[in-house]
Amino acid sequence: MQTPELFWAMGLLLPLFMGAVLAYVVGKIISRTRGDRAGGLAAAAITLAAAAGVYILTLVYPHISTGGAAAAVDWLGVLEPDALSLFMVKVIFPLIILVAIYSIDYMKEDLGTDKYYALLLIMTGGMVGVAGAGDIVSLYVFFEILSISSYCLVSFRKQSWEPIEAGFKYVITNALGSTLAILGLGLLYLFSGKLSMAEIAAQVSGWPDLPVMAALVLVITGFGVKAAMVPLHFWLPDAHSAAPSGISALLSGIVIQVGFFAMLRLVLTVFAVQLQMVGLILIVFAAITMTYGNYIALAQSDIKRMLAYSSVAQMGYIILGFGVGFYYQSVNGITGGLFHIETHAFMKALAFLSAGYIIERAGTRRMAELKGAGRAMPLAGAAFAVAALGLAGIPAFSGFMSKLMIYKSGFQAGTALGVVLSSVAIANSIISLGYYLPAIHTLFSPGDAAALKQKGAASPAAAVILPVAAMALITLVLGWYPELGLGPVNPAVAEIFKVIGG
């Protein structure tokens, strides 16, 4: 691999998209000849092979730095992967691999799993493309790849009304969001005549004020919808709770973060001059988002909806980290934000996967009816407890470490606003305890465990145990050795600070 661009296109994107086609075709052929389950298994195997192969490639490839030689081929110029992109990829792939493994067991009753796995790989490719894109149109194209595949995945269980209603709401809201964003990008093109973010950035400072501001507004709201900033969040609880649990895990764990990442990308290049203002906007939205998400999660009776709203709240923490980072040029803010993306990805995926397993066996999502489910399914219950405690930010779990850095950044700002923000963030963890702890307690209080046991709840398949145990392990280990998780984060922070210049 000569250049990062070539590596990105040939090493990452090509295998993923070819894998998607392969998974679909092979799955289809096998299910025609040997029955549906075999086709799904083949598709799953191809998905895993593609994802794992690509991931290994990422790990083998030594490092990525921008500003090197020009792209090897002309059309690769639209990609500009840097350390930040590599960080996202390093979070995306473990998650996809674990979810794909989980899906083997979880989706075994569903029809058309060949399509499911193909869409899963396309979604991954979309995320990788967004991570590496260096050009506004490519960013949009890859974002739409990601969006379209996730629309279909949310509504995958179209037999019932809920995924369909949620799916339509998801489509219309996110289509509006991304079109607003591309409208902003179109304005940028209209005024600069350039498409590469770096080239646009070079022109921005000499512009009349207003068009840049209009573009900024449209881009922030457009991607704000994707990142579920309150009040742009309302599609999230519907979509994330109606989707199959594996997909919920991905949506909450990484897809909304990729939406935020796309905004970050534009902000860091095109709007680098306005970074302080962006920081302030992010701070305001972060405070609203986390408080709103936590309070409304407090009133939920559906476990998946509760987790979905908790994603809104956690997104608030991530945004707060970046907001403080931009506003005060704080290293800890950026590090905390990125690290929280990483830890939250595994915690929230763990919560959704374990909850999904419990829901599937218990046949209900209502918290009150899940009494005793954790006793009947000790592994899933314990995993859920680990995830919930981590999400609540209890020390010794990974969530505490990443939140700690975000708190730290606020205090380090040295102003009253910083201290207030951090205190609000800390106080929010009390509110979140108000729903995580009762959820854990409900799962473990004595209930209809005998009836649950009869449904074969006691013996989870290896395909469930492996991802759940792996994620629980990551959550616990990162709680004690945050340095392990900070490995991929630090180069990305350095990359961002090239722009912030603090």
Partner: protein, 105 residues
């Protein structure tokens, strides 16, 4: 000097009007088809901006290619949205948002 490229005020106004009506169609109309139409109109405003930008910056090829890309994406999203509407109709027997509100809270 092209006649078209000279009328930048009018083109800007058209972009603003079409985009505004598109947003209005999505936000305020209750029929699902109309919402989807609002989305396609919004996208048209975007293509307009790109094509006009291409003409303005004397790079019509680029503007066009971007417009083509966006048009195809618009078609794909519209198709997915419409298959959702058909499924909604199967489940709800209605295509009006006032009746599609079981997911709440």
């Amino acid at each position: 000097m092209s006649d078209a490229a000279a009328n930048w005020i009018w083109v800007s106004a058209a972009i603003a009007v079409i985009a505004g009506l598109g947003i209005y169609g999505i936000v305020a109309r209750r029929n699902l088809f109309r919402m989807l139409m609002g989305f396609t109109m919004l996208t048209k405003a975007v293509t307009l901006a790109f094509v006009y930008g291409g003409a303005y910056w004397m790079n019509p090829g680029l503007g066009q290619s971007l417009a083509i890309i966006i048009i195809v994406i618009e078609a794909a999203v519209t198709a997915v949205g419409m298959s959702m509407i058909v499924n909604i109709y199967r489940h709800y027997g209605a295509v009006d948002t006032s009746q599609i509100k079981r997911l709440r809270g």
